[in-house]
Amino acid sequence: MPPLSIWYVRSALVHLLIGFTVGGLMLANKGMPFAPELWLLRSAHIELLFVGWLIQLGMGVAFWILPRFWTPPVRGNETGAIVSLVLLNVGVWLVVVGTVWRSGYVLALLGRLSEVGAAIAFASHLWPRIVPRQS
C-alpha cells in the first residue's frame, strides 16, 4: 500500500471511530436522555461517517488499487491526490464545527467548498489512470 493510501485509510479509520462514538452517544441519549444538546451533533455524525470514513476510504483504496502506469512515477502526478487528502480532511472538520456551532454556517460552507476542491483535485489525479488493460 503506498504511503499516501496509508494516510487516507488511517484517517478514514479515525473518522470511523469518532463518527461511531458520536452516533453511540446520540443513540444512548435517545434511550436515556442525559444531554439533549447531543442532537446538535447529528449533522456532524453524518459528515464524519459519509465523508470522513466512506469517501476517504474509497479515495485511499482507489489511489492504491486503480491501474498504474508502466513507467515511473507509476501513479502519475500525485499532487492532486495529496491536495485532495488535505482539502477533504480540512473540509470535514470545518463542516463538523460549522454545523455544531449554530452561527457557523460560513464555516460549514467553507467546509463544503473545501470538499468540492478535494473531489476536483482527486479526479484530476485519477482521470489519466482510468484506462483499459491495453493502454
Binding site: 503506498p2 488511517r10 479509520l13 463518527g19
Partner: protein, 139 residues
C-alpha cells in the same frame, strides 16, 4: 476468502435485503396502517443500510484484502476480528428492536437496549480500528 470475511459479507447481504424490505414498509406508510412509529423505523432503515450492509461489507473485504501482518497472524487477532463481527451485529439487532418500540411509547427495557446497542457499536468500531491499524501499511 477467509471465514470471517465470508460471514461479514453474507451477513451484509442479509442486511441489504432487510433494509430494502423495511424501506418498502416505510414507503407503504401512507397506504397501510403501521404497527410502529415510522419515525422510529426510519432511523433503523438507515442504519441497517449504512452499518449493516455498507460498513459490514467494507469490514469483510478489508479483512480479506488489506496487507497481511506476518505468517503467524496474517490478519491480526482472530479473536478481535470475530469480536467485531458479533459486536456490530448484536448492536444493530438491539437497535432494530429497541428503537421502534421505544418510539411507539415503550417501556424502560427498550431504553436499556438502546444504551447497550450504542456501547456495542462503539466498541465494535474500536475493535476494527485496533485490529486493522497495523495492516494499513506499505510492503
Amino acid at each position: 476468502m477467509p471465514k470471517l470475511t465470508r460471514w461479514f459479507i453474507k451477513t451484509a447481504l442479509v442486511y441489504l435485503i432487510l433494509a430494502l424490505a423495511l424501506g418498502l414498509v416505510l414507503a407503504s406508510a401512507g397506504i397501510f396502517p403501521q404497527p410502529f412509529s415510522v419515525g422510529g423505523l426510519t432511523s433503523v432503515y438507515f442504519h441497517l443500510f449504512m452499518v449493516g450492509w455498507v460498513t459490514q461489507l467494507i469490514f469483510g473485504v478489508a479483512n480479506w484484502m488489506f496487507p497481511t501482518l506476518n505468517r503467524e497472524a496474517p490478519r491480526g487477532s482472530e479473536t478481535l476480528g470475530w469480536a467485531t463481527y458479533y459486536l456490530v451485529n448484536a448492536g444493530l439487532l438491539l437497535r432494530a428492536i429497541g428503537e421502534p418500540l421505544l418510539a411507539s411509547g415503550g417501556a424502560a427495557l427498550w431504553a436499556i437496549l438502546l444504551v447497550l446497542s450504542s456501547a456495542l457499536l462503539v466498541i465494535a468500531g474500536l475493535a476494527f480500528l485496533v485490529n486493522n491499524w497495523n495492516r494499513v501499511r506499505g510492503r
